[in-house]
């Protein structure tokens, strides 16, 4: 037998450094929140130079995305969804959301996030940070363009999130019937009025 040459061997040092930075970042983001968390502190906790954190992960936002492993970039997706008329905005939100869950890769990542948030305080805190920093903050501009009062965007966006997360759980995780096997267009027609009311209707 000849010599076995591993051409594409794992480089443990590099991999471990990435992992160490991610673990430190996870703890710092959960503990301090997104805004207060600094690359400097994360680097110090990981025992590396801040430049190395930037080298591996880019900006603080990109590092945060890597930590929570949300397979979607709200900075790219939300402006696309909100571009277009107000009348069909609820439908576009629902379709985009279902696209993400029906994609095997991103659907799997969302399931993992739901599961870890339900059992792990750190994960729950990261989901909360993601929602408030990456989604709600962007909505202040985007939804205001559609006539939603800025002071109400916080509440309205959490109500929309409550319906969408529950739709994901009922349709894609628990697969409750008949909702799970309903054609997408019928789901959109049934649920859009709820999203519409949460976005634009009277708040009790």
């Amino acid at each position: 037998m000849g010599r076995v040459v591993r051409k594409k061997g794992r480089r443990p040092g590099k991999q471990d450094t990435r992992e160490t930075i991610l673990n430190a970042a996870r703890e710092v983001f959960a503990e301090e929140g997104y805004d207060k968390a600094s690359i400097r502190r994360i680097a110090a906790d990981a025992g590396v130079d801040p430049a190395l954190v930037h080298h591996y992960f880019g900006t603080k936002e990109q590092l945060f995305q890597a930590v929570i492993q949300v397979p979607l970039d709200p900075g790219a997706v939300l402006p696309t969804v909100f571009a277009g008329d107000r009348e069909t905005l609820p439908q576009r939100i629902l379709r985009t959301f279902m696209d993400t869950w029906e994609n095997p890769v991103s659907g799997q990542a969302f399931r993992a996030l739901v599961a870890s948030a339900a059992t792990n305080k750190v994960s729950a805190r990261l989901v909360r940070e993601f929602f408030s920093r990456q989604i709600q903050r962007r909505l202040r501009t985007l939804a205001a363009d559609h006539g939603v009062a800025e002071s109400e965007i916080g509440l309205r966006s959490t109500l929309v999130a409550s319906q969408m997360l529950g739709l994901a759980f009922a349709r894609y995780i628990a697969e409750l019937q008949p909702l799970a096997s309903l054609p997408r267009d019928e789901v959109v027609a049934l649920v859009a009025p709820t999203i519409e009311r949460y976005l634009f209707g009277e708040l009790a």
Copy 2:
């Protein structure tokens, strides 16, 4: 030093038998569904006499409850919620649901169920069985008394479930703000019209 007497020692044999029966039941319920699953088959898989299954767990329904560890008995709760006028039914549903999540013991059990359903096909199937056998089936009678067409109860109940599960996830698991810190009565007022529409409104 005197002799150490363990007065309340664990009896491994008994405990193991219970556990063995529960594991067999979990697999059979997930594989066959609630209706087709038989105590005889579960007992055979566990290698015990069917009488022992009844001795430890009672009826098939009680065994199922023990398997999925839902800390609430729909046979007791649902008739209470549905007794009363139709106008305030959505509010009663929401209040009862929030009570269960705000109770530390049952809230914890629900979190565990959400987490395991999100990552485990067997758990997801059990949640589905629970919903269809213990909840939807009872609603056929209860909701019909409030004028809901029996043919629509399946779809209406999954839509209601989608909003309630999402409310639980947003308010109690991810704790999205400001929804998480809103007084209960405000949550009820904001979400009740959604439940009302899913129960009694036009289906698109």
